[in-house]
Symmetry: C2
Subunit: 414 residues, 2 copies
């Protein structure tokens, strides 16, 4: 079969994937922005904080009034008021005076620092004894200390985290410019496939890829659209692929596993408008018969029919593809959750291709042990037993027991 | 302030959190089950696969007809038909015969193995020459090889991944029993807090915790309910907390940062029905003034007002709390995404408490370098600069530059 393929290396495929980009932008409300990708830099519209705030509970003072203070020779100050939270301070601080303040309170006029409650002692009347000096601006944050007006807060391409939403809230940004989530049209093809609610007859199996690929998309911030089940027929599959292109940003066909189906998938792709074949076979196992092309600017993908192979191709190549379509910056885009572990036994591998081996992780004392899961290639039970994948690089003949390997997490541990 | 607190160690707090559990179960459709937690073991309702399948493209044969075959002395077999995908094979295999079969095709009667296409050669007429012997059952998976009827497929407490949905689809499980997502009532309190769409006056700041805690909940599979903004008033806060208890599984109040607000939060908790105070202060920095209690079986949490402290407490203690409320099994529940890195400089720390230091990760050659982010405690810009947290254990005085540390990922790299 190799003769039909002009296999690309994984590195070549990654480069090819870089030609794709996001399909558009939209504003989302702040409460819905978790995990979305910024389509513009966020520039601070104002100084944050916008007033000088105390970062301690204590007293707003003039720092110079505390200079030289010590336990044995404290500085005595008159307490002339208290800062109410959320209000412009009524009191102001003159020489020899202090104003009670809570963490987050606005520094009153005249004060240039705050003494911690722990470093003061209440005396008779309204007097306090301060036992340690502070320097000017001590225990205070100034306007713009977080972000000054016009500075860059977050960059285009950044994937928004809880703390980012907090900063955006602090700046009053309630509508956030993000890239649209990529929509992925998923088509399962094969005469033997029936939908999940059917009882398969002998020779038939239920549609698995619809669910695995759909969930894979969701996990990567994309929106799966299930186009449907297709028998191995050129016309039907072409209609489905065209429907997918009109409704989604990319079309993924997971082939039935027969040779005939694979041929039909390629012929259908070649019949799409403005089609270019970019990848026809990858030097990777499992996943060799993968097809990548484009119809206009839309990537079209032909995946192996068996779920185990399709998921390896998804983890390895469609994660970066979805990053590109999401507009995610490359640094975070290529990052996938992984752990280091010690290989529990030798793995043989053919040179000239990249192998992905499913492993189970076992914690022994302080180490994680990666135990390869072997089993006939058609099984799906190995998928749920595995915690991750170990990559065996192209020009090695395997990996040795006891060596430290990187495990790409694919299971519940990620 | 320490005198008001009977500080608990982090270990004590983790134990206390273990008393909480999920609030109920519900069925979800398979397509919506990603990330949900199984509330029952899944038992295979049938053998999977339910018929013998070829895992190669080639010929279904009787293994014994290939015994002794070699390149120089091949076995010659008559091809008597072809297995159609998805159909019960019309042909059967007798002595000296072969039937063409694709990957995933049903093995015809009489055959007990499959010869790979690559190990056969078409001869004149319908004859093939097989150049390698196969053993019985070679290149074939048998009924029940994946799961036999009655065997356990996935365990209660498991967080469903794409591949798990695939296996469930293969078994025809379209409705999945899962625990309900925990609902979290979030209340921000403090006289200085205004909503995000308001222009704050001097002394006021916008509500940040609503968004950070809400997104934190979503990231952990929980559903945030925003109860509202509360001024520092006992009655208003009590009404809000009770509304939260009636609508959600747990109530989280992020206090204004003033001492007064903290006192009100505790008094409100103590006024709730069947209340027990479990934790009043934790020996951790930041996050010491955290309160954990229960009203009946519902956890109620008082968080520090400052977003940086509240998020550390959330990452460290509320992640396991949400795991418990989600019904997630403990092994995966305590796992949080982390990487190893080399510390870029010394970190000092007070003995007797656990410190969490924000760090930025920098890739240098093959190593990740963790660079502590310093800055005044009241800032929020440090949050978006940080990739993660480094824990300094309780009974150490710090960590040294050059040492290998574990970084709990809190940013976009996770």
């Amino acid at each position: 079969m190799d003769s039909f393929f002009n296999l690309k290396t994984p590195e070549e495929v990654y480069k090819i994937i870089e030609q794709f980009g996001p399909s558009g932008e939209e504003p989302v409300s702040l409460g819905a922005a978790l995990g979305r990708i910024l389509s513009h830099d966020i520039i601070s519209p104002e100084d944050l904080p916008h007033f000088a705030r105390s970062v301690v509970d204590g007293y707003a003072v003039r720092a110079r009034d505390t200079f030289g203070a010590s336990e044995s020779l404290p500085a005595f100050l008159d307490v002339v008021g208290e800062v109410q939270m959320g209000q412009y301070p009524a009191a102001m601080v003159s020489e020899g005076q202090a104003v009670r303040i809570s963490t987050g309170g606005m520094l009153p006029e005249g004060a240039d620092g705050a003494v911690m409650l722990e470093h003061s002692m209440s005396m008779e009347g309204n007097t306090i004894a301060v036992s340690r000096p502070i320097s000017p601006l001590e225990n205070v944050i100034q306007p713009g200390d977080d972000f000054s007006k016009g500075s860059t807060v977050l960059k285009k391409g950044h994937c928004l985290q809880p703390q980012d939403l907090g900063v955006l809230a602090g700046l009053g940004e309630s509508q956030i410019p993000v890239y649209k989530r990529p929509r992925v049209a998923i088509i399962s093809t094969g005469d033997e496939i029936v939908s999940v609610d059917k009882q398969p007859l002998p020779g038939q199996v239920r549609d698995i890829n619809r669910y695995t690929l759909g969930a894979f998309c969701r996990r990567n911030g994309a929106v799966p659209l299930h186009i449907g089940l297709c028998p191995d027929s050129f016309e039907t599959l072409k209609t489905s692929a065209e429907e997918g292109l009109s409704r989604a940003d990319t079309v993924w066909i997971s082939g039935g596993s027969s040779v005939g189906t694979r041929d039909i998938t390629l012929r259908v792709f070649e019949a799409l408008s403005d089609f270019e074949l970019l990848v026809h076979g990858i030097s990777i196992s499992p996943g060799k018969p993968t097809i990548i092309g484009r119809s206009g600017s839309q990537p079209v993908i032909g995946l192996p029919g068996h779920v185990a192979s399709a998921l390896v191709v998804a983890e390895v190549f469609l994660t970066p593809l979805l990053s590109r379509l999401s507009g995610r910056d490359l640094i975070s885009g290529v990052q996938q959750p992984s752990v280091d572990a010690i290989l529990a036994r030798n793995i043989e591998s053919a040179s000239g291709r990249e192998d992905y081996i499913r492993v189970r992780l076992i914690r022994e004392a302080d180490e994680l042990i990666a135990e390869p899961i072997f089993g006939k290639s058609g099984l799906i039970s190995t998928l749920v037993e595995a915690d991750g994948l170990v990559r065996v690089a192209m020009n090695t003949e395997g990996l040795y027991k006891g060596h430290r390997v990187k495990v790409l997490l694919t299971g519940a541990l990620r």
